[in-house]
Symmetry: C3
Subunit: 333 residues, 3 copies
């Protein structure tokens, strides 16, 4: 990275913090506290890192409480401060008024592209597809027919979008994400599985981020829907006709079965499986849980089958006690 050359004063303004020390100190880099050297800014985000502040070679710290270090910016929420500072830095990097389309891209004459797009090498764009301004399509992306992509999106390399998919503004699709795949739907005739063609679609609303190598299946009829602001981590699978609300966070390797309905502001940890059920708003689902029955809003569950967290943990603990008592009993005999 090119050096940032930001003064501590400027950084303090960006993160909205209270500055102690030399406001003119120039910061060239932001690094983890254990790796920091002169010219670096580091973040102290948890109590356990406070003692690292003493030995650091960083030139300044952003911290949630004073570490006694000579140059420090104290903020209420260090995570928020980190986001503000990194957004400031990367915005500067990304700002671009140049729009280029690779000579190698093969774009249907029936497609409509804003003049303000960037299209990488070896990209295919099908008939009647439209791409709005300031969207970036990276290398080796395939976009089918009748696909609509909004403004300021980024499609990373090797993304594939099947036909008839609609994507909103400010959507990020990471490398290798596949959108609009046929759902896993068959009818069993004797011992044979006959494929049910999937003529539905996928709608991804604004401000959604989909992780690398994720798969989002199209509806059989109707649509698979991911509402605005929802974030999905790498290698997750959203099946046909799933309906995911707004601002829901879905970690990696999660599987959501066909026609499941997930509410708003749900938090789903890694490797969770959700059957064809309804999950209410604001639920929190622990890692590897298997949600086999619908959940009311605000439930917090773990385990397979998913069980309220307090109950599950108490039951597990009780079983351990039972077992230990039995072992003791045997030893006495």
């Amino acid at each position: 990275m090119t050096p940032l050359n930001l003064s501590l004063k400027k950084i303090s303004d960006i993160v909205g913090g209270s500055l102690k020390g030399d406001a003119s100190t120039l910061i060239s880099n932001i690094t983890p506290i254990e790796d920091a050297t002169s010219g670096d800014l580091s973040f102290v985000m948890e109590d356990k890192f406070l003692n690292k502040a003493k030995g650091t070679k960083a030139s300044a710290l952003v911290t949630f409480k004073s570490t006694g270090f000579e140059n420090e910016i104290i903020v209420k929420n260090t995570r928020n401060a980190l986001q503000l500072l990194l957004a400031f830095i990367t915005k500067n990097n990304e700002a671009s008024n140049s729009f280029t389309i690779s000579d190698t891209a093969i774009i249907s004459k029936k497609a409509t592209l804003s003049p303000q797009v960037n299209i990488g090498h070896f990209v295919s764009i099908g008939n009647h597809s439209t791409i709005a301004e300031k969207t970036i399509i990276k290398h080796n992306v395939t976009i089918g027919n009748n696909v609509t992509i909004g403004k300021k999106c980024i499609l990373y390399p090797s993304v594939v979008i099947y036909d008839n998919v609609t994507i909103g503004d400010n959507v990020i699709l990471h490398a290798g994400a596949k959108i609009g795949v046929d759902g896993f739907g068959y009818v069993q005739v004797g011992s044979k599985w006959k494929k049910i063609p999937h003529i539905g679609t996928v709608i991804i609303e604004h401000d959604v981020e989909v992780g690398a190598n994720c798969c989002v299946d199209r509806g059989c009829l109707g649509k698979t829907l991911i509402k605005s602001g929802t974030k999905v981590d790498n290698l997750s699978h959203v099946a046909h006709n799933v309906n995911i609300g707004s601002d829901t966070a879905i970690a990696g390797l999660v599987g959501i079965a066909g026609s499941a309905i997930i509410g708003n502001n749900v938090q789903i940890a890694g490797q969770v499986g959700i059957a064809s059920v309804t999950v209410g708003n604001n639920c929190i689902i622990g890692g590897q849980a298997g949600v086999l029955k619908s959940l009311n809003p605000n439930e917090m569950v773990v385990g397979t089958p998913a069980t309220p967290i307090k109950e599950e943990y108490k039951i597990r603990a009780y079983l351990k006690i039972l077992y230990k008592n039995a072992v003791k009993g045997r030893q006495k005999k």
Copy 2:
């Protein structure tokens, strides 16, 4: 989608149903009942949707029992009817007598392609590979050397096939599927893992469908085999030398360890893990189960380690009762 323009009479014939109402009604679209408007046909597939039939704006329904709606087609099996109708519609769409090979595709002179194939942009096809008639290879697909692909297959974008793989007829490989990857095989010499080269192959028989971003490893020696009619959902992993029978259905995010043997007509739910064991014909394996020991034919298991479903559920229920009694006991004291 272009309007279907199918009469209700025609649709009734396709699905083999009993028609009530105006046989000349023109249907332009098939939609979920809650989204239906004039010109739409909707399906009523379960009791819980019967009450939606009353308020629908659809022009006609396909249903398993009469809803009282003016235009309806009554069938024995709505899922089967849906399959028949969608297959009819999409067959019409797919029927094509035009075969094109993108100028950008790089095809070895030593490869043999039927004149009746479609090859997309930025495709590579290696030496001594053969592709039979009516197969469609979409954009950015890489096919190695000595690969054989049968008739009427579809390889979606970004599929990768390593060398020496054999694929039958009517096989669908969804976007990003990787076939013939080296197995995860090493020998530990001291603390180091030395790679065991994998010189085996993968054989995928007729009528198999492999989901997006799936991985199928090649045999170390010999082959990894997926027999005819088996369907695999997105993001599943089939390791080296696995042998999967016919007409088995494998849901998403399933992992099957090296040399496992899976029978015919097995049903494997999402996120199941199967160790290097044998699973008999017709087994049903519940979501997230971990199959650590071989299963006899017709077993139905859940949990990790996988346990017969009745036993596992009863044991879990018993533990909950024990715990609840203990809590009550404590409360009495």
Copy 3:
């Protein structure tokens, strides 16, 4: 495969075994014992395969103890022998002094490539990236800016490497692996998730192998690190700022959460999930385990939450006994 034409004497020398029978026997192929025909060599690696030796049509066997077969090579460690023989064969195949760059590859003028590289079709290589000698980049690979790739690496088709990633020597990245993806990091402001830009990097050291369709996220600040000799199987997910030691083996569909620290020589089975904790050297983690707390070196755990294997299995067994006794009790009444 072209026939090997190796004498039994030569093979015995390669695997360091003790030869019985006709040393001049010519071997053309190595196959599983059940498929073997004349000219084939097969391996007998376990007691259960000893009885297959009698009926085999193979021309010779490599075995860990005498099977009585006329031509056999007896070795101490058959797995090691298999590795040595396959490494010998494939080394011969791979040896190449021809280095070609596809005309279709688009390589930045600011990139630095050894003259001894192979670059496939439809490859993009960004500014200031460097690729060292004898590295093979296969078709449809995308390499971003400021990427460093060492010697003798193989990047299989559709690999994507984001900017600022460093890869050592002898690294294998299987098809569709995505390296340097943004981590899943947000700060919640009201109900909205604001993206934390990830300006860190990924460092993959020498002799690492990463499976097909794996995802390795970049650090938010600092780096995600995979140390030398570590092997990762297909479809696994390594989140931002994870630090994985040397010679660790990670099976398929494993998820490792942000900032987790994994030691050296750890063995992680399929579908394991690891939270943001520390796993000590030489731990063994059973399939589908959920590691929610840090593990000391040499621990062996299973289950979710991960529990020492002996304890977990005994507790499960005890619960089954309790339940069975209860059922018997009820039956007596």
